[in-house]
Symmetry: C2
Subunit: 338 residues, 2 copies
DNA sequence: AGGGTCAAGTTTTACGTATAACGTCCGCCG
DNA sequence: CGGCGGACGTTATACGTAAAACTTGACCCT
């Protein structure tokens, strides 16, 4: 850290402008109306400019007792979904003078001893995805105002929660496929212990179970294309009547399903219909384009930050799930539409 | 978190343990050998534990004069490539006791006046992707130690740079396709003013130009599937001999090319070969799987943080580009291999 | 003349931490 | 018995900022 010349402080600016440090703080903090003359203010600003002065944020944060910075904890960066969450959160936060810093929950990053190595920044609050499970215990210890995303309302111990209306998404998928005439379903489930996936399974079973003659089989796979492909292939090769629709917990899983079906010589959607969840870029990259449930990641992030801001101000965040929408594309059709 | 109770400070811990604040700092900072008795140290630790004490990082950063936190500036979060860069950087940083905070360069986030709203954290240094152009000017003003990723070595004014060996990647692509017998090329170029894309164009022209009878036509598109599709379709519908290979600056562009070719009734790779760049998840999601240049994002991030740490310690970062590797899959074949 | 108001600053203080500098007590050696 | 060096702490200070409390002089009103 061989700083030959250390950064200028407000005192340096004061000296250069021939005023006291306090005056500099007033001028640069825009609190000088009636306290400092126009001319002096101008002089201070010019001095600050010439020295290239930037306030020391550590000092400011210490003085102010807050940072106007919140942390967004996400399970991984590999999905564009959380990019959307960040974008929405950052936009609204900026409108309120807050910044958002990202903490991708580590997977082999750093000693588990301090999963917060990335967050040396002093923080005012935390928004955490329930999927970033490993980071959650550490977060608890910090006693910071917390908002959980997509978390079991029961399991989040008083922390405010903001949830996507996953159940409704599943209802829409089920209604769409049942309406097309499908009765035999394969649920390709994400093998991740998370509330949002439990909801999918529960709701799908309920909807399909309500229709006479309809049934759901389940296959599990990690959220990775190869794993999903193999799981699907195994499930579809099993004895018994073959499902005519594969409902996937996630677009990535759906891509795996595509590959399995191609291997088995089955066509999408003529032989088997496939649906996804998320509406990532993947969904329109594949052929045929994927019928999937669009999650509005930006809106989700927006609602998350609004809830956290509410908590910070001592208000109760407004409830209500974030709506989702089925997007019908080319991967679904009536069964046996050869 | 009601404002009633504020977080405990080291002084609170001291009082609870019946010692001075300095003793607490010594014990918790693990600097107490020979200065504090074993018993007292234990007492302090227990008190800290019971109060749930966490040091105030703003205060610590102010005292220490540094934060052991660096910023990684990326153009956008939508690509898994930068997720890899982050992962590599964060791992190595953690090994050195540093944290990494992400700053996705804003696209309509916050007032342009302060693009650093997200970075309220006090920082020790910055690693910036050259593609995050809009954030760069602001970074300059902060006079922080800086490492540029994939930047024109001439244009980065003394800042250390770490580059991927893009030129070599293009060489490998050209050699592969020329070896298969292709002579007519369409270069589907990213319409983004960035050094890394200029290199692709320059190198491809040079390699193909060296072969008698070979030539390159160019189409430009934003890095988005639809735009790439339309640009490709237009270029391939133009008069003159049709190219037999489409070389794309990016995997996403390649997906657009796939769609255009399908529309035109041309098969990949029998009628036209396609190559990408990056090796994202997309590359193996499409059918046929994409021949592309794999960029080792994690290694890239690793090299970036190593360079920055070197700068922080006053050393000169070691040079040398990060190697890349052509991955041959199903989207390339000899021309006219019907 | 005397007080009051106001502009235009300055002096001072506190935020919470890390650490340099300073006591004390006690045992031990020459 | 004087002094000396640990062991075990404590006291004091600085980091850079924001803002409350205070000072000074000029001007105005009655």
């Amino acid at each position: 850290m061989a700083r030959g010349s250390t950064r200028p402080t407000s005192r340096d600016v004061a000296q250069a402008a021939g005023v006291s440090q306090a005056a500099v703080s007033l001028v640069l903090g825009d609190k000088w109306r009636g306290r400092v003359s126009q001319a002096t203010a101008e002089r201070v600003r010019r001095a600050a400019d010439e020295l290239g002065y930037r306030p020391n944020l550590a000092a400011r944060n210490l003085r102010l007792g807050h940072t106007r910075t919140v942390l967004l904890v996400v399970p991984a960066l590999t999905t564009e979904f959380f990019a959307g969450v960040y974008t929405g959160a950052a936009r609204v936060a900026a409108e309120h003078g807050f910044g958002v810093v990202l903490y991708p929950s580590p997977e082999g990053i750093g000693p588990a001893r301090n999963p917060f190595a990335s967050a040396q920044a002093a923080l005012d609050g935390v928004i955490a995805s329930s999927m970033a499970a490993d980071a959650l215990t550490a977060i608890r210890g910090d006693r910071l105002p917390l908002v959980m995303l997509d978390s079991d309302p029961e399991g989040s111990l008083g922390a405010a929660t903001v949830n996507l209306d996953i159940a409704d998404g599943v209802r829409q998928v089920a209604a769409h496929l049942l309406g097309l005439g499908h009765r035999g379903f394969l649920h390709l489930a994400a093998d991740v212990p998370s509330w949002t996936f439990e909801v999918r399974a529960r709701e799908l079973a309920a909807r399909v179970g309500a229709v006479p003659g309809a049934s759901v089989r389940t296959a599990r796979a990690a959220i990775a294309v190869e794993d999903a492909r193999d799981a699907t292939q195994a499930a579809l090769s099993a004895p018994g009547p073959r499902p005519t629709a594969v409902v996937c917990d996630d677009d990535k899983l759906a891509v795996g399903a595509y590959k399995a079906l191609r291997r088995l010589g089955l066509r999408v959607p003529e032989d088997v219909s496939v649906t996804g969840f998320d509406d990532l870029g993947l969904a329109t990259a594949v052929d045929p384009e994927l019928t999937t449930v669009r999650l509005d990641a930006e809106l989700f992030g927006e609602r998350g930050i609004r809830a956290l801001l509410a908590v910070l101000e001592g208000r109760t965040p407004d409830g209500g799930d974030v709506p989702v929408e089925l997007v019908v594309r080319g991967s679904t059709a009536p069964p046996g539409a050869s």
